[in-house]
Amino acid sequence: MGQFILRYRKHEELRWISHLDLKRTLERAMRRARLPLALTQGHNPRPKLSFGPPLPLGATSDAELITIHLSEALEAGQLKDRLNQQLPPGLQMLEAWSLPVYRKKETFGDIELAEYVVSLRGNLEPEDLQRRVDQLLASSELVVQRGGERPERTVDLRPLIHRLEVRGEDKSSLELLMSLRTGSHGGARPQEVVALLGLDSETHVSRYHRRALSALPRPAGKPGLGQGRKWRRQTRKESETRP
């Protein structure tokens, strides 16, 4: 019975499957695992699932989130283990929590930030990269064209870049850390930021990796879910109260 949240990893070959493919893949794995899924009412009953913000195609992650509703009691750890036995290589459930019964349906609406680590191929000078980052952060506006959407539109990415830092001491360990807005009000993709830095994904980047999802930090004293803490920690704390 009840609602469970799982954090999972998507990597290796499976970074090439889309969000829709991923949904199908997970649903089928749940059916193979014979989980007692709670189904929606109506003509076309479907499992009640909520997914966190879609991961860009080609990126790996160990911060993906899903909510599962079950119709029978099951221990969170068992749910995780049973599901893992049915997942193809490249997908792995890392943590599972059951939510208290009074919690309404979790749809991850308060997730607003995605944190990415962009590993570089070692062909950039740290000073050069830092200069590009400083320049970009100094801009008041970063308007890009978005193809693929109809009608084609322009988006200002500057307000969507929450944080952008260079990490690593030398050329070979250089990486970019970025916190980007995500969610239903629009977001930025790490590939777009790399392009804005005047870099080329194929030449300069070896990996895009999402490592955390979180709510936006809010001014002190104002109520708001998360209070700037990592979303998953906040959830874990709540789950400690479970029976």
Partner: protein
């Protein structure tokens, strides 16, 4: 982080998931431990190829055998082809990313004529010479099979061997032949396997324009090759652990083959020749296979595969058994092929308790006269009774399949399709009452394509202008909000007919069309008729001799050496009766 050359291409192509490993139930066998290695290939894009049951069956059989190994490949989409060629990389298998040319056998399905250029392209991308005569002991054997094999001649220049008929048993015999050390020895052995045709051991003597001519054996090959046939379908191997794709494929569901073959004898249809007479799996077998396959795949739908699934002798028990066992898990049942009668609708109604599926009826022709010509034993009363049952069970959308360009067809027959559809619209509105606004009829009007080993193999296809004229007639007759009409491009149908009735000379034209850039001809955005016309012309051929000409009844035809159950005399008698408007 090390990225292989092939992986480096993935970010540059659409749907990279077409080329990745790791689908649930994919098999990874020890390369070194396998004595014979097969690359099984479907010559169309992944989403289409994954839906072909035949390849799954062979994959399952070969990988269940301790000595053999099978991996898969599909036609790379045009963007991936460009990347492979630019990078100078060969086409690789999905499972172990091994270049196809390192397998012992490249097995290619021949599903329909418009994929043939893709088959040549795949060989070329694999670094294997597309022409059989150019290959040596260092190259894999290229072996074909599938529906197209009943007329292997257009692909004869490119294949080392082609299996005519069913592969469940033959594939193991083929594997042993492929284990022989030399190409020559392997071909000699293959030619002795019942159902296997080795084109290089036969000579073609054309006897005029079109597919008129004789194929005769040399070097002691058998004079004719009879279609291979599995006697007992119930005990034939069936893949329980069906491959589960990541991508949304044409059929993302458990395919349960409940019957094989067809004995209805529609005179235009090749199904009887390709799949033989009717065989069934037993009720208990099917219920068990369905449950096991759902458990092994996690699919939420089971589709019953047969030419007419309601002809199964236990269809009612089967459907209620499946609904009872699978409905609780939220798993639906789909019946893609129905007869147009009230019984079929009742079965479909039972199914929709779990999930609503579409209903399709195929009257094929608009008049009773023309339905007698084609031996489609369905009356208008049957059709309206079926529609009545459908509307009163809650359906508001129906699909109706027709053909245009059938032998003896006149403009009146075409107009009668329009008339029939109009009467169906009026009937539907009446039956649906307040819900009349939701009535929707999807009407498809495909062009008749003459197929070898059918009574209509001698009949010419309508000229393209005539087909276009008939399509306009139908469009004019069906200006109706509740009706959506679809049809095929007459040029596509002409090419399909020309290859379908092709001989080895048409094979040369296919080779030329591929060189001229033909790919994915069943995809509207890639089909270029001018390319094909040029290829036929350059080979000194007229496409119309193959597509449109009536063939002499008493002359040898290019596929007479392939035996498909019905002898030529019987086909000719059916053709005679058809022209007199008599049913079988």
């Amino acid at each position: 982080m090390q990225i292989s050359e092939f992986e480096a291409l993935l970010p540059r192509v659409t749907k990279p998931a077409r080329y990745i490993d790791g689908e649930w139930n994919a098999v990874h066998k020890d390369w070194g431990a396998a004595r014979v290695r097969f690359a099984l290939v479907y010559p169309d894009v992944y989403e289409v190829g994954m839906s072909h049951l035949g390849l799954h069956i062979l994959y399952h059989i070969l990988n269940s055998h301790p000595d053999y190994l099978a991996e898969r490949a599909y036609a790379p989409w045009t963007d991936m082809e460009a990347e492979l060629r630019k990078a100078g990389l060969p086409l690789v298998s999905l499972e172990s990313r091994t270049p196809l040319r390192r397998f012992h056998v490249i097995g290619i399905t021949l599903p329909y004529e418009l994929t043939y250029a893709n088959a040549l392209n795949i060989l070329d991308l694999a670094g294997v010479p597309p022409r059989a005569a150019d290959r040596s002991d260092d190259h894999p054997l290229v072996i074909g099979g599938g529906p197209g094999a009943v007329n292997p001649e257009p692909m004869a220049p490119f294949f080392d061997a082609i299996l005519v008929g069913e592969g469940e048993e033959a594939v193991l015999e083929i594997a042993e032949a492929a284990a022989l050390p030399s190409r020559q020895a392997a071909l000699a052995r293959l030619a002795q396997i019942p159902g296997v045709y080795v084109p290089s051991l036969y000579r073609y003597s054309p006897g005029g324009p079109g597919p008129v001519g004789e194929v005769t054996p040399v070097d002691g090959a058998p004079a004719s090759v009879a279609r291979r046939y599995v006697d007992d379908l119930d005990s034939a191997p069936f893949p329980i652990k069906q491959l589960v794709p990541f991508l949304d494929t044409v059929h993302s569901r458990v395919t349960l083959e409940i019957m094989r073959g067809c004995t209805r004898g529609c005179r235009f249809c090749q199904a009887g020749a390709v799949y033989g007479s009717r065989r069934e799996r037993k009720l208990e077998t099917l219920l068990r296979q369905a449950e096991e396959a759902v458990a092994a795949t996690g699919y939420d739908e089971v589709s019953l595969l047969a030419f007419t699934s309601v002809d199964h002798s236990h269809i009612e028990e089967l459907v209620s058994g499946l609904v009872e066992r699978l409905g609780k898990q939220g798993v639906g049942v789909a019946l893609p092929s129905l007869r147009a009668d009230a019984f079929s609708v009742a079965i479909a109604d039972h199914i929709q308790q779990v999930r609503k599926t579409g209903l399709t009826f195929a009257p094929e022709a608009g008049t009773a006269r023309l339905r007698s010509v084609i031996n489609k034993q369905m009356t208008e009363d049957d059709l309206f009774a079926a529609a009545d049952a459908a509307f009163s069970s809650g359906w508001t959308r129906l699909k109706l399949y027709f053909m245009i360009g059938l032998p003896t067809e006149t403009d009146e027959d075409v107009e009668a399709i329009g008339d029939l559809v109009h009467r169906m619209v009026a009937f539907g509105r009446g039956a649906l009452g307040a819900r009349r606004g939701r009535l929707h009829l999807a009407v498809s009007a495909a062009a008749f394509v003459p197929k070898p080993h059918t009574p209509f193999q001698w009949m010419g296809q309508d000229e393209m202008e005539t087909l276009a004229h008939k399509q306009r007639l139908l469009q004019g007759a069906l200006r109706e909000r509740a009706v959506k009409l679809s049809w095929t491009d007459p040029a596509v149908s002409a090419l399909e007919a020309a290859i379908s009735r092709g001989d080895r000379r048409v094979g040369e034209a296919i080779g030329r069309a591929w060189q001229l850039g033909a790919r994915f001809d069943s995809w509207g955005e890639h089909f270029q008729f001018a390319r094909w016309q040029q290829a036929f012309r350059e080979m000194g051929l007229d496409l119309r001799d193959y597509a449109n000409q009536a063939l002499p009844l008493d002359a040898p035809l290019a596929w007479d050496h392939i035996g498909c159950g019905m002898d030529k005399g019987a086909l000719r008698r059916q053709a005679d009766r058809a022209l007199k408007g008599e049913e079988a």
